[in-house]
Symmetry: C2
Subunit: 210 residues, 2 copies
């Protein structure tokens, strides 16, 4: 890798490139020039070229990118060329939506166990996994190299979920609940709050109408 | 408003400030200094002050911010001080998760109709709304000032959903499906792809372990 700090926006664009390239690969394409790839991803061709320079040299001038080669390089750049074991806490609608996300398992994110605090849910089977007691995370996942925890519980149980995930040795938490959580400094937290997208949309539409 | 272009990251932080302030208000707080507000929002106090300057002068030096005043100002700044009528296409787990999001209706985003293309779902009741035929969006929402469409259908039906939303006069689309959609230039599209957060997390955790 050329640089150590890569802007977050770049990571998100790399993810879009990867997804588009995989669509193109499924359609049987083997080589693509940066212009049509850029159009498919809705960015400028110069943006794609710039983003890829973070990770080395790709593409052949006048020919384009080798689709499968670029997919592998992007997967490696994003560190999704290896398996990531995940656990999920909160098997409501949102949890179920995540578990049934097709791309999820295709990209080496494997949910090895699912948990809930609701006694009515514990013991149910969801997508082939038994819902386990959210207070037993540590003992259930012991020795399984679980590094990512997903919180899809209601806001008022998010902190309890976070504490139990940290206790179980999880180093990264994706928090889908609308609550802020407190964790030790060595644990990475990403908040994914759907409301932010609605706020952003309302803001953009208002500006357009002025 | 002081400036016309406001960075997207600022909008997202404003949304976080707003959410924290609303929590604080529910806890009975009337005034808060920028330092504790910053801690609650996990940003620097100088960042908060800087972000708020986009929208005018807030707070009294040495005293702090009036909580309800700042909530109102932020809601106005984000244009969520008025009601936004929304419709949703795709009433699977993800659609249901969105419909049951507590903050959603509290913030003046009102889902007035829900749609699906699956004949088995059409006619069902979900969160008090009847699932309507996704091919009848235009006639169902005629005259209802619907401006935001939410796509929570599977990828292969996203484009059909988008076309029907545009035909019905929607000006902003929040696309939760992992498919790119094509719409006229005057329609704003926001993509919310959960995978991007997983990619970002995998990337961050990999960097930490080196």
């Amino acid at each position: 890798m050329k640089q150590d700090h890569i802007p977050r926006a770049t990571i998100q664009r790399l993810a879009v490139y990867l997804q588009e390239l995989e669509h193109l690969q499924r359609d049987g394409l083997e080589v693509i020039a940066s212009e049509p790839l850029a159009r498919a991803c809705e960015v400028n061709a110069s943006q794609i070229r710039k983003d890829l320079t973070y990770f080395g040299e790709f593409g052949v001038r006048g020919v384009g990118y080798n689709v499968s080669g670029l997919i592998n390089a992007l997967a490696k750049a994003l560190s999704i060329d290896k398996q990531w074991n995940c656990i999920l806490v909160g098997v409501g609608n949102l949890g179920k939506a995540l578990l049934s996300h097709r791309e999820f398992s295709e990209h080496r994110f494997t949910v090895v166990s699912i948990f809930d605090f609701d006694p009515f849910r514990i013991g149910q089977m969801v997508m082939g996994l038994e819902v386990m007691d959210g207070n037993r995370i540590k003992e259930v996942v012991a020795g399984r190299d679980v590094r990512i925890g997903i919180i899809s519980s209601p806001a008022e149980r998010a902190q309890r979920a976070a504490a139990n995930l940290v206790e179980a040795g999880v180093k990264g938490i994706l928090n889908y609940s609308p609550a802020r959580i407190t964790v030790p400094g060595d644990v990475v937290v990403e908040y994914l709050d759907v409301m932010h997208y609605f706020y952003s949309m309302a803001f953009t539409l208002s500006r357009r109408n002025r």
